[in-house]
C-alpha cells in the first residue's frame, strides 16, 4: 500500500444493463496533486467518480481509494461535490452548515469560518433563493471545511459566474499548497484550470484516451488545450 498514491484504478469496467459505460479504466493519482479529468459529455466521468466514491460498484476491476476499497469508510475520508447537485433548499446556509457539522465526522469549525469569509457567503440566505454561483461556492466550502485528504469535484464550474469561478479555483490552489490534499476535478473549463493541473486524464467513450503530466506536456511545447484537441478532435 503506497501512501503516496491516493487513487488507484485498475482495469475498471462498468456496465448498465447492456451498455458499457466504462471499460479498461486504469490510472493513478498521487497525493497532494491536482488531477484533471477531462473529456466530452457522456464520456463516463460522473460514473467513474461515483465508483471512486463508492456509491456505485464496478462490474469489474479494482479500485483503491486512500488505500482501501471505496465504501462508507472512505466516504468519511473524502469530500465529494456532485455535478449539478443541490443542497436542501429549505435551509439557510448557516443551518445547512450546522447540520453538516454534525453529519460529517471530520468537520472543522475553524476551517468553516475561514472559508465562509473567503467565499463571501451570507449565512442567513436561504439556499432555495441563492443564485447558482452562490450555491456553488457554498457547496465547495462544505467540501473544504472537512479535514479530508481527497476532494473530488464533478464539474464545479458549470453555469457559475466568472468571479465565483475564480474564487473556487483560488480555493483549490490554496488548499493544495500544504501538500495534504489531493484534488480530482472533472471539468470543461480547461482554460481556467489549465495552470493548476499536475496531471490530466483524458477520458472519452468510457475509456482512458491518455494520461499526461502537464509539466512534461509543456516541456514538449504543448498546452493542455492543444493536447485535448489532439486527442478528441
Amino acid at each position: 500500500m503506497d501512501h503516496t498514491i491516493t487513487i488507484q484504478c485498475t482495469a475498471v469496467e462498468m456496465s448498465f444493463k447492456k451498455k458499457k459505460a466504462l471499460h479498461n479504466v486504469t490510472f493513478a493519482a498521487k497525493s497532494g496533486s491536482i488531477v484533471g479529468l477531462l473529456g466530452p459529455n457522456g464520456a463516463g466521468k460522473s460514473t467513474l467518480m461515483r465508483i471512486l466514491i463508492g456509491i456505485l460498484e464496478p462490474t469489474a476491476g479494482t479500485v483503491e481509494v486512500l488505500g482501501r476499497k471505496p465504501g462508507v469508510e472512505t466516504l468519511g475520508q473524502l469530500s465529494f461535490l456532485p455535478d449539478r447537485g443541490h443542497l436542501p433548499n429549505w435551509l439557510t446556509a448557516d443551518q445547512w452548515l450546522g447540520y453538516a457539522a454534525g453529519i460529517y465526522p471530520d468537520w472543522d469549525i475553524a476551517l468553516e469560518r475561514e472559508w465562509v469569509r473567503k467565499q463571501e457567503v451570507d449565512r442567513s440566505t436561504s439556499i432555495g433563493t441563492m443564485s447558482r454561483g452562490q450555491e456553488a461556492r457554498l457547496q465547495l466550502l462544505t467540501c473544504l471545511s472537512r479535514r479530508t485528504k481527497l476532494v473530488i469535484l464533478d464539474e464545479p464550474f458549470t453555469g457559475v459566474d466568472l468571479l465565483s469561478r475564480e474564487r473556487i479555483s483560488s480555493a483549490i490552489a490554496e488548499e493544495t499548497a500544504d501538500g495534504d490534499r489531493t484534488f480530482l476535478i472533472a471539468t470543461h473549463d480547461i482554460r481556467e484550470m489549465e495552470s493548476m493541473f499536475d496531471r490530466i486524464i483524458l477520458i472519452g467513450d468510457g475509456t482512458i484516451k491518455g494520461v499526461y503530466d502537464t509539466e512534461k506536456l509543456r516541456d514538449d511545447g504543448r498546452s493542455v488545450e492543444s493536447c485535448y484537441r489532439e486527442v478528441f478532435a
Binding site: 429549505w90 450546522g98 447540520y99 442567513s124 436561504s126
Partner: protein, 524 residues
C-alpha cells in the same frame, strides 16, 4: 376553441410523443398490454369469481381508472416547473391555450387507452363469469350487454372529466388558489373510500348502479367534463403559465416570505447534534419547513377546529371510535407514500448525490428518514387525536352525553390505534422494496404485492376488520390474535425487506435520477 392556427397539429404530435412509448403502438408494447390484460382478467376471475355483481366490478374499475388518472397527472403537474425543458416549452411561438390544449389532448389519449383496457378487462370478466357460473341468480346476458354499454360510456366520461380536472391541478399552486388543494386531495382519495365497500360486495347494486342511472352519470360527467375542458385550457393558460415563466428550475416554487426567519423560528439556533442524530434532524427540518408554510398552517388550523368540533359531537355512543378511525385512515396512506415522495423529490431536485455522499451506511441513511417520518407522524397524528380529545373533553364538561361507551369501546379504540400503528410501521418499511428491483429482483417480486396491498389496507381494515358492530360486540379473540400475528410475523418480515432493499437503493435511485433527468430533457 380556436382552430384557426395550422401550426396546432405539430404541437399535439409533440405532446403525444411523450406518452407514445407507453401505448400499445409497437409489437412489443402491444404484447405487454395484451399480456397485462390477460393477467388482470385471470386475477379478476380468482379474486371476484361470480360472487360479485357485474356492476360492482365495473364501479371498482371506474374507481381504479379515476385514481390512475389523477395520481400520475398530479405528480407530473407538480414536477413540471422544475423540469428544465419548461423554458424551451414556454418559448414556443404558440398561443398559451394551444399549448395547454395539446398537453390535455395527449393526456386524454393516454388515459383513454387505460380506461379502455380496464373496461375490456371488466367486461370480459363479467361475461366469462356469467358463462362459467353455476348460479341461476347471476346476471342475464341482456343486463350484461346493457352494463357494458352504459359503463363504457361512463368510462369515457370519467376520462374526460378527470383528465380535465387533473389538468387544472397546477392552478392550485398559485396564490389564493392554494385553498383548492384540500378539496382536490379529497377528490383524489374519493374513489379509495368506495373501494373497501365494493370489495366486500356490500354495495347495493340497486337502481343507483344499474344502466339507466349509469347513463345519467355518464351524461352528467361528460357535460361537466366538457365544461372543465374549456375551463382548464383558459384557466391554466392564464394562471399557471405566468407562474412558470417567473420560476427558475431548481429553485423553490413556493417562495416563503422571509424564509430565514420562518425556518429559524422552528430551529432553536444552530443544530448541535452529531452523527446519526444530525441525519435525523436534517430530515425533520424538512418536515418542519413544510409545516411552516403559511398556507398549510391555514389548512391545519381549519382541520384542527373541524376535528375539535367532531370530537365534541362524537363523544356519545362510542361514536368517538369512528372519530379516531376517521383521523387515522387517510393520513396513514399518505404517510406510506411519503417515503416514495421524498426520495422522488430528492432525485428531481438533484440532492440525491449529496445525501448518498454522507459517510453513513445506506441502512443508516434510510433509517434516519424512516425515524423522522415516524416522529413527524406521531407528532401530527398525536396532535389531531389530542384536538379530538379536547373537543370531547369540552363536551364532557358542558353537555355530558348519556352514554359514552362500554368497556368494549375502550378495547376497540385501543385495537384501532394499535392496528394502525403496526400498519404504518409495516407499510413504511415495505415501501422500500421498490428500490431493490434492479439488484434483488426476487425480493422485489415478493415485496411489491405487499407494497400494493398496503395502499388499500386501510379500506380493507375498515370493511373487514372493523365493522360497525365492533364497539358493542367487542374485539374478538381472533382479531387480537390476528393483530398479534401481524405484528410478530409481519413486522420482522417488513424489516428484513427493508434492510435488504437499502443495499440496492443507491444504484436504483441513481438510475432513476438519470432516467428522470433524461426524460425531462437534461442532457449529459
Amino acid at each position: 376553441m380556436s382552430r384557426r392556427q395550422r401550426p396546432f397539429s405539430p404541437i399535439v404530435e409533440f405532446e403525444h410523443s411523450a406518452f407514445t412509448p407507453y401505448l400499445p403502438t409497437t409489437k412489443k408494447t402491444a404484447s405487454y398490454w395484451v399480456l397485462g390484460i390477460i393477467i388482470a382478467i385471470f386475477a379478476c376471475r380468482i379474486g371476484f369469481g361470480d360472487r360479485y355483481e357485474p356492476e360492482a366490478v365495473y364501479v371498482l374499475g371506474v374507481s381504479l381508472a379515476w385514481v390512475s388518472f389523477i395520481a400520475p397527472m398530479s405528480i407530473r403537474a407538480l414536477q413540471q416547473p422544475s423540469q428544465p425543458f419548461q423554458e424551451w416549452w414556454l418559448t414556443f411561438p404558440l398561443d398559451r391555450r394551444t399549448l395547454v390544449r395539446a398537453k390535455l389532448l395527449a393526456s386524454l389519449r393516454l388515459n383513454a387507452h387505460i380506461a379502455a383496457a380496464i373496461w375490456l378487462i371488466v367486461t370480459v370478466h363479467n361475461f366469462s363469469a356469467a358463462v362459467l357460473t353455476e348460479s341461476p341468480f347471476h346476471a342475464s346476458l341482456g343486463r350484461l350487454w346493457a352494463d357494458a354499454a352504459s359503463y363504457g360510456l361512463l368510462f369515457a366520461a370519467i376520462v374526460l372529466l378527470i383528465t380535465c380536472l387533473a389538468t387544472l391541478a397546477p392552478i392550485a399552486l398559485h396564490g389564493w388558489y392554494r385553498l383548492l388543494i384540500f378539496p382536490y386531495l379529497v377528490l383524489w382519495g374519493f374513489p379509495m373510500g368506495n373501494l373497501g365497500s365494493l370489495l366486500q360486495g356490500e354495495v347495493q347494486t340497486d337502481r343507483w348502479l344499474q344502466t339507466p342511472m349509469v347513463l345519467l352519470y355518464a351524461c352528467a360527467g361528460a357535460l361537466l367534463g366538457w365544461i372543465l375542458y374549456h375551463v382548464a385550457i383558459v384557466g391554466v393558460a392564464k394562471v399557471a403559465m405566468k407562474g412558470l415563466a417567473s420560476h427558475e428550475p431548481g429553485k423553490a416554487l413556493v417562495h416563503l416570505h422571509r424564509p430565514a426567519s420562518a425556518a429559524q423560528r422552528t430551529v432553536r439556533g444552530r443544530p448541535t447534534a452529531a452523527g446519526f442524530r444530525s441525519l435525523f434532524q436534517l430530515e425533520r427540518s424538512r418536515h418542519r419547513s413544510i409545516a411552516a408554510n403559511k398556507w398549510l398552517q391555514l389548512v391545519r388550523g381549519i382541520l384542527v377546529l373541524a376535528i375539535m368540533v367532531g370530537g365534541y359531537f362524537s363523544l356519545s355512543n362510542s361514536e368517538w371510535i369512528d372519530m379516531i378511525r376517521a383521523i387515522l385512515v387517510i393520513p396513514s396512506i399518505f404517510i406510506i407514500t411519503h417515503m416514495t415522495l421524498t426520495y422522488a423529490n430528492d432525485m428531481g431536485k438533484r440532492r440525491l448525490e449529496w445525501m448518498l455522499g454522507f459517510p453513513y451506511s445506506r441502512l443508516k441513511l434510510a433509517f434516519s428518514r424512516l425515524l423522522a417520518i415516524w416522529a413527524t407522524t406521531a407528532l401530527w397524528l398525536g396532535g389531531a387525536l389530542l384536538a379530538a380529545a379536547v373537543g370531547a373533553g369540552i363536551r364532557y364538561i358542558v353537555n355530558r352525553p348519556d352514554s359514552i361507551g362500554t368497556s368494549n369501546s375502550l378495547y376497540t379504540a385501543a385495537y384501532v390505534l394499535l392496528l394502525f400503528t403496526v400498519y404504518i410501521i409495516f407499510g413504511t418499511l415495505v415501501s422500500h422494496v421498490q428500490y431493490s428491483t434492479a439488484k434483488y429482483p426476487v425480493l422485489s417480486a415478493i415485496g411489491l404485492p405487499f407494497m400494493m396491498l398496503s395502499y388499500v389496507a386501510p379500506m380493507l381494515f375498515n370493511q373487514y376488520v372493523l365493522p360497525e358492530s365492533l364497539p358493542t360486540a367487542g374485539v374478538s379473540h381472533s382479531l387480537w390474535i390476528g393483530l398479534g400475528l401481524f405484528a410478530v410475523i409481519g413486522l420482522p418480515f417488513a424489516l428484513v425487506l427493508f434492510v435488504i432493499s437499502t443495499r440496492g437503493m443507491a444504484f436504483s435511485m441513481l438510475a432513476s435520477q438519470a432516467k428522470l433527468a433524461r426524460r425531462s430533457g437534461v442532457t449529459k
